[in-house]
């Protein structure tokens, strides 16, 4: 199995404001690419661009899975993403939310049930009733649906209590056995298997 994300010359402007300037990096199976920088330095923007949720002003992104180059649409659907702005449906339960997204990704309902079990949430709780820490656990479960090879994690331990952070770190460790991750955080996190660090000056 192989998966490799590489990007180079990534720049992004919002009007006249330059948020990212010629950012480059790469990550493959078993590795973490850590992105740090102050608030507003463009970490979330970089991850959104890598996820295919936002176009870059310039630059190239390549994601190869099993030696096949995926286009941006395929890349979007083949990765896991945790970010503060990722929300699920308040009128659906935890398991209904995950089963819905599992069906969209062509996965069986058991994949959703498995993901819920991994993060220790009550399946029948409504998303709208979850605390911010529980919502973060659910984001992890959502990201791990179908066990994608690439995880893009924007402030992955935000709002988690000690047990939640330990769980998230364990999930990341397990993921790195067969996958890779880009992790963005305003502080320098202690992370396993960091292959490269990018500091965004903003």
């Amino acid at each position: 199995m192989s998966a490799r994300l590489s990007f180079s010359g990534i720049s992004r402007r919002f009007g006249r404001k330059r948020v990212l300037e010629q950012v480059a990096g790469a990550v493959e199976i078993g590795q973490v690419l850590a992105v740090s920088g102050a608030n507003g330095s463009g970490k979330s923007t970089l991850l959104r661009i890598l996820a295919g949720l936002m176009p870059a002003s310039s630059g190239t992104i390549e994601y190869r899975l099993e030696d096949r180059l995926l286009d941006s649409g395929e890349r979007r659907r083949a990765l896991g993403y945790v970010a503060p702005d990722l929300a699920l449906y308040e009128s659906l339960t935890v398991v209904e939310n995950l089963r819905f997204f599992a069906r969209l990704r062509g996965l069986p309902a058991s994949a959703a049930d498995d993901a819920v079990a991994r993060v220790g949430l009550a399946p029948e709780a409504f998303y709208g009733t979850l605390s911010s820490g529980q919502r973060q656990r659910l984001r992890w479960a959502w990201a791990l649906l179908g066990r994608p090879r690439l995880l893009l994690l924007d402030e992955p331990f935000q709002n988690l209590d000690a047990a939640g952070e330990a769980l998230a770190r364990r999930l990341l460790d397990e993921h790195l056995e067969n996958g890779c991750a880009v992790v963005a955080s305003p502080i320098t996190l202690e992370l396993p298997k960091v292959h490269e660090r990018i500091h965004l000056a903003g």
């Binding site: 996820a51 702005d85 990722l86 929300a87 209904e96 997204f101 969209l104 062509g106």
Partner: protein, 226 residues
């Protein structure tokens, strides 16, 4: 993507929309309130006796479609706007294929529109004591007109979902998209009431629906993908 996968995705979206709607009842309550209010207001102001028989076939179809249009526009544009407002669009973009997503949303809006018509039309016929000479033609007008209304509203909802000033934009964009549909639908409803031959109005309405379908399926991936 295989046809069965495509259909499964569209069905998942349709089921999710209905499950959410049946729990929140946002659109159903809005439709019910708006439809009953406008029907009662119109029937009190223009009850069965206030229009000359010769005017009824001209005025009442317009009134019926105006009630349907304004009631529908109170709920249908939420299809994609709601996803942006609640920040669920990020998860949806990362998981859904554009084609099945649009079809699932449009099918949900069509079901809502048909439910709205099932509520409004019988009440309208009773309150205005309106006899329809060709019920089959009226059913066709409601089905084809409702299809266009649902599809057009879904497309406009997608177009405006990421913009500011959505209310204004919806009105501006809906005008060119929905105006021909309304004109054909009103004309066909009038012919159904009178029992006249539909001529080319049926073809025009069906052709409009087909064109809107093709345009929507081509446009939506461009709108949806960043």
């Amino acid at each position: 993507m295989s046809a069965s996968t495509w259909l499964a995705e569209a069905t998942a979206v349709f089921v999710k929309e209905w499950r959410s709607e049946l729990r929140t009842r946002y659109a159903l309550n809005t439709f019910g309130l708006f439809a009953v209010t406008t029907l009662i207001t119109a029937s009190v102001a223009l009850g069965p006796a206030s229009l000359a028989p010769v005017e009824r076939a001209s005025v009442l179809p317009v009134l019926l479609w105006l009630i349907l249009l304004f009631t529908a526009t109170a709920g249908l544009p939420r299809a994609f706007v709601f996803e942006e407002e609640t920040h669920t669009s990020t998860a949806l973009r990362l998981a859904a294929s554009p084609g099945p997503l649009f079809v699932g949303k449009a099918a949900y809006n069509l079901a809502l529109t048909l439910a709205l018509e099932a509520l409004v039309v019988p009440l309208f016929l009773i309150l205005f004591d309106l006899a329809v000479a060709s019920p089959g033609l009226l059913a066709l007008a409601l089905l084809a007109g409702g299809f266009g209304l649902a599809l057009g509203s879904t497309l406009v909802s997608a177009l405006i979902s990421q913009a500011r000033g959505r209310g204004t934009l919806f009105a501006v964009l809906s005008l060119p998209i929905l105006l021909p549909l309304l004109l054909f639908s009103v004309q066909l409803t009038r012919l159904a009431i009178l029992g006249d031959a539909p001529g080319q109005t049926v073809e025009a309405l069906l052709l409009y629906d087909a064109s809107l379908t093709v345009a929507s399926m081509m446009l939506f991936p461009v709108i949806w993908n960043p």
